[in-house]
């Protein structure tokens, strides 16, 4: 299983990828959308964990691009903001949605759910 972590905070994503790696999950990270798209082109990822709010191309825009190119890919969103817009966007995408700071156990649970093909809510 390959996971792509995208967040502008390199400290956050690097620690997360290392922790996932320790649990035997291959997780790469990118700190912006361009880098993420490049990496997605190079390697096939099963799941992308996206921060909603990023400078430049936002998490939601990146999600649209990735979803177009890789329809198989699953997504989990992270956000530090809980304003109405983010909430609506999160539910509209029909994907899992986690608030920062996330509990690592919750993240693992969501990853497992997504990969094992548990039913996704359709937006």
């Amino acid at each position: 299983m390959k996971i792509l972590l995208v967040d502008d905070e390199i400290e956050l994503v690097s620690a997360m990828s290392e922790r996932l790696g320790l649990r035997g999950i291959e997780a790469d990270f990118a700190t912006n959308a361009i880098q993420a798209l490049q990496m997605a082109g190079e390697k096939k990822y099963d799941l992308a964990v996206l921060d909603v709010k990023m400078p430049g191309i936002s998490g939601l825009d990146l999600w649209k691009l990735l979803k177009e190119q890789y329809p198989e890919m699953k997504f989990i969103f992270l956000t530090g903001h809980t304003s109405q817009d983010d909430f609506k966007a999160g539910t509209k995408t029909g994907h899992n949605y986690l608030l920062k700071p996330i509990s690592f156990d919750a993240l693992l649970e969501r990853i497992n759910q997504s990969i094992s093909g548990s039913p996704e809510r359709e937006g």
Binding site: E9, E11, R19, G80, H81, T82, S83, L99, K100, P101
Partner: protein
């Protein structure tokens, strides 16, 4: 006490209100009311008073003139009549003298015949006498024997010599009957002359005056220039007595006047002119009277009529009463209308101003809440990112320890990492709560669990409760206190009420929150054992700008809370006992109703 109760009942709301110097847009309404009442009353009543006064004076003058006019007419008519009477007598004497020569007149028996002839035709003559130029009465006919009497030394004789005609004042004389004398001087051929003298009974005068047919209360009589009555009067003394009249002017009474002062009498009365004059006098009974008088031509007589003012002025007094009554009623009704209109208008202005000011404050409050919300959201978001990093790094640290053989058994390291992660969780709970409050600034109707809302609010106040050692209990009665409402506004409601409870209790105080779920509504009861609320303040507690916190409070917290609860289709009530504590009960309908038209009965 009763009057005070009535005053309290009709007293407008703004009367006892403090002056809102700190509230822009609120004024000293009592002053506005006073100013309005004073200005309008002044403008309305002053012209009325001035006009009434002018009308009063004008009417008084007119009626007085009208009242005095009949007196003037009576005086001038009677004066003319008495004058004519005297002229008639004089003319008769002149006729006798011209138709009978001197020798016939002094012939014995002739004068007697003449007297009986004229008495049968005219009447009133008591005697007749002929006096020669020496003053000796050479012929006489009458009840006495005055033949040969010498009048040369008498005053009247000199006067008739000088003026050719003499009318005497009334006197009693020998007969002891009031009478007067007319004497007439006639020239004989040559330088010689004689005088025909006739005595006339005053009965004639009396008859003349009686024939005027005046009212019984009116007195008519003749006086001489010294104020001696010449005919009997009804109320002012008998014939030949001094007339009893209190003269107007500074304490002069006719009876005080000595004969030497007799000039004063006629001068004071102003009756020496032949023109009739009228003046007011005081009667002995202290009632005002009119006195009309005039001098009768060619005689020492003054005719006087004294009429009570009461009869004449009765109409005037009636009219005056009506005028004063009308004015009093007008002034009273004007004042009543002004008072009630001013009170009504100022009350309306006051109420409108209070509403406007409280609406402004509500807007300000909402804006403030929105700003605080945005600020809190910004802060929470900014903090969440570093928190997430700390969280991940601590988690990584823990993982690294867990996977390393060297440290996996080190309890201390693991517990340090756990404590970092736990602290981050606490921080994140705080930021989440902040974000939660911020999120609810905009109204949003959705399912809300009241117990969660109350827990959130209590969570906010948790630290204060710990510092002050307050005992805060939450009891939930019934299951699933869920309803459709706006979470943000509910949070505000409970935060306000619980904050007030915190302010009311002393340290180590107790606050009980009980949530009861009913089929129709959810009831939240917030009880404290604080200072309580005085009964007189209890009914004002939800009014805007009412505060007991002095400078520290705006007096808006509970009024806004009350407004919010009403908006959410609920009801807020309060019970309190001073010294024992207060209970605020929030009742919320479980039926979704954004318009708040559900009627609630919280006592079900």
């Amino acid at each position: 006490m009763k009057i005070r109760n009535i005053i309290n009942k009709i007293k407008p709301r703004f009367w006892d209100e403090a002056i809102h110097q700190d509230q822009p847009g609120l004024f000293n309404y009592r002053r506005i009311w006073k100013l309005t009442v004073f200005c309008v009353s002044f403008v309305a009543i002053t012209p009325l008073m001035v006009l009434s006064f002018m009308d009063y004076n004008l009417s008084r003058k007119t009626l007085q003139a009208e009242a005095s006019f009949p007196i003037m007419r009576l005086v001038s008519n009677t004066t003319l009549n008495v004058g004519t009477f005297l002229e008639e007598k004089t003319a008769l004497l002149r006729f006798i003298v011209q138709n009978n020569n001197y020798h016939d007149l002094i012939r014995p028996g002739h004068l007697e015949k003449l007297l009986s002839d004229i008495n049968s035709s005219f009447g009133g003559f008591a005697d007749l006498g002929v006096i020669d130029s020496r003053g000796i009465q050479i012929s006489y006919t009458g009840p006495f024997d005055f033949q040969g009497k010498d009048y040369s030394m008498q005053e009247w004789f000199n006067e008739v010599v000088e003026k050719n005609l003499y009318v005497s004042e009334v006197f009693r004389g020998y007969r002891d009957e009031p009478h007067f004398v007319i004497a007439f001087k006639e020239y004989l051929p040559g330088e010689n002359w004689f005088i025909l003298r006739a005595t006339i009974d005053t009965e004639e005068f009396n008859r003349l005056l009686q024939s005027l047919n005046v009212r019984p209360s009116t007195d008519v009589f003749l006086v001489n220039k010294n104020g001696i009555l010449q005919t009997p009067s009804a109320f002012h003394g008998d014939v030949l007595e001094r007339v009893k009249i209190d003269l107007p002017g500074p304490d002069v009474k006719s009876s005080d006047l000595e004969p030497a002062d007799s000039n004063n009498f006629k001068n004071l009365l102003g009756c020496v002119s032949r023109e009739s004059s009228i003046l007011e006098i005081n009667d002995s009974k202290d009632s005002k009277k009119f006195l009309g008088c005039a001098l009768i031509n060619n005689s020492p007589f003054i005719f006087m009529v004294i009429k009570s003012q009461r009869e004449l002025m009765e109409n005037w007094w009636k009219m005056r009463m009506e005028l004063i009554g009308f004015m009093l009623i007008s002034v009273t009704s004007i004042l009543l209308v002004i008072l009630s209109a001013a009170t009504y208008l100022v009350s309306r202005i006051h109420d409108a101003d209070i509403k406007r000011a409280s609406a402004l404050h509500k807007i300000e409050h909402t804006n403030k809440m929105a700003s605080i919300g945005r600020l809190a959201a910004g802060v929470a978001h900014e903090i969440n990112n570093p928190l997430a990093i700390i969280n991940e790094k601590a988690g990584l640290l823990k993982d690294l320890f867990g996977y390393s053989e060297k440290y996996s058994k080190d309890e201390k390291l693991n517990s340090i990492a756990d404590s970092i992660i736990h602290s981050v969780e606490r921080c994140s709970a705080i930021t989440r709560r902040l974000l939660g409050f911020a999120k609810h600034v905009d109204v949003e109707w959705k399912k809300v669990r009241i117990d969660n809302v109350v827990r959130d609010v209590l969570g906010f106040l948790d630290k204060e409760a710990q510092y002050r050692e307050l005992e805060v209990n939450l009891e939930i009665d019934g299951e699933n206190p869920e309803l459709i409402s706006d979470q943000g506004q509910l949070e505000q409601v409970f935060l306000n009420i619980i904050n007030n409870a915190f302010a009311a209790v002393d340290d180590k105080g107790r606050i009980d929150v009980k949530i009861s779920t009913y089929p129709e509504h959810v009831q939240v009861r917030i009880a404290d054992n604080g200072c309580g609320i005085a009964p007189e303040n209890l009914k004002k507690i939800f009014e805007p700008f009412f505060t007991t916190k002095g400078e520290q409070g705006t007096g808006l917290g509970l009024s806004i809370t009350y407004g919010l609860v009403k908006k959410l289709g609920g009801d807020l009530s309060v019970e309190s006992e001073p010294g024992k504590g207060s209970v605020f009960t929030v009742c919320l309908s479980r039926k979704f109703n954004p318009k708040g038209t559900v009627s609630l009965d919280c006592h079900k």
